[in-house]
Amino acid sequence: MSPDDKRRRGRSLSDRPVGRRSLLRAVGGTGVAGLTTGLAGCLGDLGGQGSDGDDGEDGGDGGDGDDISITYGILSPMSGSYSSLGPNQRRGARLGIQTVNENDDLNVQIDGAYEDTETSQEPALQAADRVVQNEGADFLMGAISSSVAIGLNNFAADNEVIYNPGGAAVPITGSECNEYVFRAETNTAQIAEAVAGYTVNNLGTNVWFHIADYTYGESVLSRVRSRMEEENSNLNVVGVSRSELGAGSYDTYISDIRSSDADVAVLGMTGGDLVTFVNQADSAGLKSSVTLMGPTMTFQSVRNALGPAAYGTYGGVRYTADTDELDNAQNEDFVSAYTDEHDSPPDNFARVGYQSVLMTARGVHEAGSSDPQDVIDALGGLEMDTILGTNRFRECDHQAENPTWMGELTEPSGGGPADVGLISKVEGPDAIPPCEETGCEL
């Protein structure tokens, strides 16, 4: 038979020999029988009636000393444009979960479920679905990109689970806030408090703003500029330039800044953009005439990537592993445990993972229940000890009242990535903008 004949010959059930047919019937019959019996037993669960999103929960009473067990979904950008930061967030959260589980004073046992947001909204929402529906998670932590975090904000409200965002944009606990969101990460307004005043009063009053053309950049421009204006009436904004997000070359802007009268350049960019800018500015010799200040300059990943190019720049600080500065017991335990496990001190993103889990666990303990509504009632405004000192998720917007610092990047004795010297501190209640200004109505 030629190949064409074979292809043309149709196959239908009537071609099969009789023996096979009866076998099929028998198998089919048993199968159906089995299925129906199984079905009958599961009628109550059909259509997912049995699982209402938090299956496996005891919920209720922890008051009798039994541990309340919860599942925490940790969603970090392990791939995509923020993949250099995701792993640390995951490590911090994991350590936080471990710490809670080993802590006898907290009646909480946590099961962690770790996923990848891919630095993009859709995969992040998919991952959130996965942990909430498959693992029965009632608590979520994660994202670093603010746009991903906002997507998860809505997810949390729709699915009635508590969410600790890792994004820093103000709207996350501002115009996009909802009662399920509790943020332990420091937002851009809190950082602006620490950097604006010091910069305009000490680094120079002729200021050039260079930002990346997206929401974060714009928010740095508007907040830092307005805080500077309030702090010092001599502020003179010499120029404002915007670059494309992800632009690989900043020579143009650097040349423009150099030929202006600017004393200090405020950089509203982060990540790879910031690293590239500072690299090229250093290469062009800009630092000899203009001081560079960027709110995110002090990030470990930025300092590691810049090496000597970062010496002599300034930035905002959200967390320090320096236990002389942050000398409370929790931070000391955190730093030593993290350093033991990972051979390097924790950075801001690890801190956010850790702090989110610990603060929320405290809320669960206080509520005596894992039901998100009970936790919300207990956690809002609850004062507790954290690695950043005495702290709480503020009632009106669920933003943690984190302190912030101004930092100077200096050359360490052995060379390598810059050290961060802390210059001034703004206490938590002072750094956070007033409730009326946030745009959040809880």
């Binding site: 074979k6 292809r7 679905d129 996965r130 790879g272 590691n304």
Partner: protein, 669 residues
Amino acid sequence: MVLSALAQQVVNGLVVGMVFVLLAAGLSIIFGVMDVINFTHGELFALGAYFAFAVASTSWGGFWVALVLAPLGVALVGGAIERFTIRPLYGRNPLYHILLTFGLVLIFKDVIDFVWGTSRKFYQTPELLSGQPFQLFGVFVPQYSAFVLIGGAFVAGVSYLLLERTRFGLIVRAGSMDREMVRHLGIDIDRYYTLVFAYGAMLAALAGIVIAGRSTIEPAMGDSVIIPAFVIVVLGGLGSFRGAVVGGLGVGVIQSLLRSDVVYEALRQDFLPNLPVPDLEGLVVFLLMIGVLLVRPQGLFGSPEFHDPSGDGELLTGAGDGVLADDTRRRLGYAAVGLLALAPIGMGAFYPVYYVNSVLVLVMIWALFALSLDFLMGYTGLVPLGHVLFFGAGAYTSVLFVQEVVPSVFLAILAGVVVSAALAWVVGYLSIRVSGVYFAMITLAFAELGYQLVFKRADIFGGENGISGFDMVYGLGSGPVVGELTLLGEIHAFYYLVLVSVVGGYLVARRLMRSPFGSVLKSIREAEDRATFLGYDVTVYKRRAFVVSGALASVAGSLATLHNGAVSPSSLAWLKSGEVIVITLLGGMGTLYGPMIGAGAFFGLKEALLAFDIEQWRGVLGVVFVLFVIYVPEGLVSVPSQLSDRYDFGGGGEPTVDPTPEAETEVDD
């Protein structure tokens, strides 16, 4: 003062441009000589940086050693890629090269992640180049930039001489004109192709190392250069080395000039009215690309030294006779739909809710998206690289409609269809003038335009945060909210909305295919010239197909947005265009249902891998995909017939006993 500022920006632009040249030259040469559109170029660029980092981190290594060794290493990788994965594909339609290299991108990404981790790396520039910048006539030139300029020019010069003045270059150019002839002359042209690919890879690696010193080393660095590289190659002319040089330097200088406040201010005062240039920067590049493709598709230096206009292989579709008879296939179809309709009932009892409400919904949405692409690709032979534009247009339009007009989900989807269809008409009108690779590029440019627009206009589209927190209702003005209406337990009405839409889309597409319109489309795919000779206005038919395809994609986009509860620029990311092509090919083009099976396979495999905690699922999928492109290009739907051919499933599976003994002695087959 202005003059020196101008000179400064020109110099800045040349430095940036030189890196573009290294990138674009490699890409252009590879296309010109081998007709291969190399998406892997971005990853080879990144690999160059990482190899250099690895070499520089050793005790015997350093900047200069790395500068020599790393490109050689990447050249070896490039040669291996050509030898083992691309060579089997010669003679096939260039689409398969795009697909193959796309699959390789997925693999490389995960390999880089695995070997070096995701954190940003520090790359030490040498002492020699770290001093104070040079100053000439008021123009500052950092030492490293001077190195880039001089070194880059040297490499470009050597490459040019290699291609123009050596025997190697002569053979390579001859081979691009007529491969067979060169072989008949006794030259093993295949070995030369390997060298060409390796050389192109080496140039990309050099660009990566240069960037590492000026910027940073991170896993996603390839993504940010691949699209600009393609733009420059198109501007300069696909296959033209000269074009890559002029295009690269030109784009670098123009970009620099446009960015500079000082220059811009001077220009503005003298020449231009209030042009919001900074706003347009992202758009200008793609508008330029579209303009060039429409007016002079061969670019500035077109009909260049390397290009083989012929050699358009056909698109291998999964259509044609399979193992199953038509009515069996129809019954299978009913069974599939039936299973899908019943699937939600088993939730909770037999399998977790997640797999139905999340995974199956996603599979169905992407099945519709892939179906829309197959309508175009599998039946007209047009391969768009920017199909995500209509997906995203549907997504954004439906959300904006709900926010501004009425929250009806049906009207919102309809609005999306209308807008996407109109957009498809316009884009199609402009794009279908060109064909093949140029068509792919121009659709990509349109999609990127859409992305930039949505990203920039935060006031309308929400910028990079997108829009979320909207509610759609089943009804015309009010009614039960989508996502909250459940039928029983966790069984959402939304699931059935998606199912109905997908089945409906399939039926519509199939109906169109069986109509006279569809027959003409199929004939265009089979033999376009013949269809023209028969008197059909081929362009009009293609355009109509494009519109239908865009409309179907828009429905998928609207449904995806409903599923997510949010829309963001990622709905317009070019990577999605690539993924949908992958899925369509995986399933089998030209069958309409094939891509739907592809969607199931793609997401099913991803979920299975994630269930086993394999975070490198992308790399695994990449491997699967590469194997499919090479060995099973007709997709999953062709597997049964291929297996039956191979293993001869004749007569119930038992060996057929030949009734006529004489047959055995006949000399045949």
